[in-house]
Symmetry: C2
Subunit: 283 residues, 2 copies
Amino acid sequence: MKMIRSIKEMSGFSAEARARGKKIGFVPTMGALHAGHLSLIRKARRDNDLVVVSIFVNPLQFGPAEDFRKYPRNSAVDAWLCRREGVGVVFSPGAKEMYGAGHRTFVEVAGLSDGLCGSFRPGHFRGVATVVLKLFNIVSPDNAYFGAKDAQQAAIIKKMTADLNLPVRIKVLPIVRDADGLALSSRNRYLDRLQREQALCLFRCLREASRMVRAGERDLSRIKEVARRLISVCPQAEIDYIEIVDPLTMLPLKSISKGKCLIALAVRIGKTRLIDNITLDVK
Amino acid sequence: MKMIRSIKEMSGFSAEARARGKKIGFVPTMGALHAGHLSLIRKARRDNDLVVVSIFVNPLQFGPAEDFRKYPRNSAVDAWLCRREGVGVVFSPGAKEMYGAGHRTFVEVAGLSDGLCGSFRPGHFRGVATVVLKLFNIVSPDNAYFGAKDAQQAAIIKKMTADLNLPVRIKVLPIVRDADGLALSSRNRYLDRLQREQALCLFRCLREASRMVRAGERDLSRIKEVARRLISVCPQAEIDYIEIVDPLTMLPLKSISKGKCLIALAVRIGKTRLIDNITLDVK
């Protein structure tokens, strides 16, 4: 496995691999790898000749009051996991390498970035779109893999890729959960034992909401009301949002009708902000 | 010479050419080609194995009160000129092909886009950066060629290319002028005979300003004052701006010192907005 820190070396390596007809699968991460990331890496291995994993905690997508500094970093374990999974290259540039002096170019996916997490984390998705575009240009993958837990992010990356005519196929893979239902996230490491237990309310709430929809409930406010109540029983839980949206536009639905809908929520457990979602196919 | 209108066909053609080891030179234009464009095409031919010229009047870079509708279009003559110059592909997509339903991704080069033309044409450079990025992704050139007349545009494209790690080299070629000094522009076609004569005031003013600098004048306000006077003698001329800026940041200079400076201006002659500039190397 190759460890690369320079942009020039990474793009040179990719260009050479492509010239030799190799198909490149790319998994962009912020490190602190968990089984969710590993599911992306395994799929990338099955689909491609070479897998590149980037590990870069992107300062541009953190707000000034957010957890950029304390975001978990564990490059030795990450590298060990990548090697075990047959990754070809780990690309982990420094912040100076990625954002040289005077970086001032930004990508915005208007509309899609406004609601849900976008309204609680201004500038977050601009930072995500910009770094992903940069990484695509450096790694030039054939396929890139994202987790469905970050549903809004995945929708934005897909739209950006289509709008900007990027020659990359975006694959979004299902959320990986712990046995008790908690969606895997690098931020779960922040939780103490009590908080870890309370964090189960996110999935419990999604499960109950989808049970209601499947049972024929069509009143959005009633579903959200029940969902809110299931969260509010946890003393340390604070809701950022619970929304039922169109999974393509990320806009709140006015009514539930045939087709796909996404129930998404963000909840703070103590100081830790967690997100989760579930997609329903309403018949 | 190949005429291509579909994005898919264009990107397929480019991918195949690159796979055969061909170097691609790209000249993005809005058509209505003149000798300035031809100088870019000739340079592209000398540097590359294949030249792609795009002809696309980009709605995204025109303001609502601007000349998008009446912008000169003459595809037959443009195609004839391209064929004569040995162009390999003319890529001329329609607006629907370039901006499908719901296009919502935009690129912004912050700061560089604010002053000069940016302050008179809000959104203009966002439209330029976005379409150029899309075209780069579709055509995937090795080299791309731009004219120095659009100095701010060239600075923005260069910065975007560096910031987004695009695998394209940007080449900026000198302004081509008519024998009497008028910078070539597709918009010169709007001028009647009297206006054509008055339009000479732009270059006259740049020449006088640079003569002053070369003669040792270092007072910026005195130089701008003389420049303004040379424009104001033309009854139909209205100044948008005359500025002396750093050619990299496009920010107004506080004083003239050793190094490069750019004198740039935008002047309306009747309803026609013309721009011109000159770069000085102060010893």
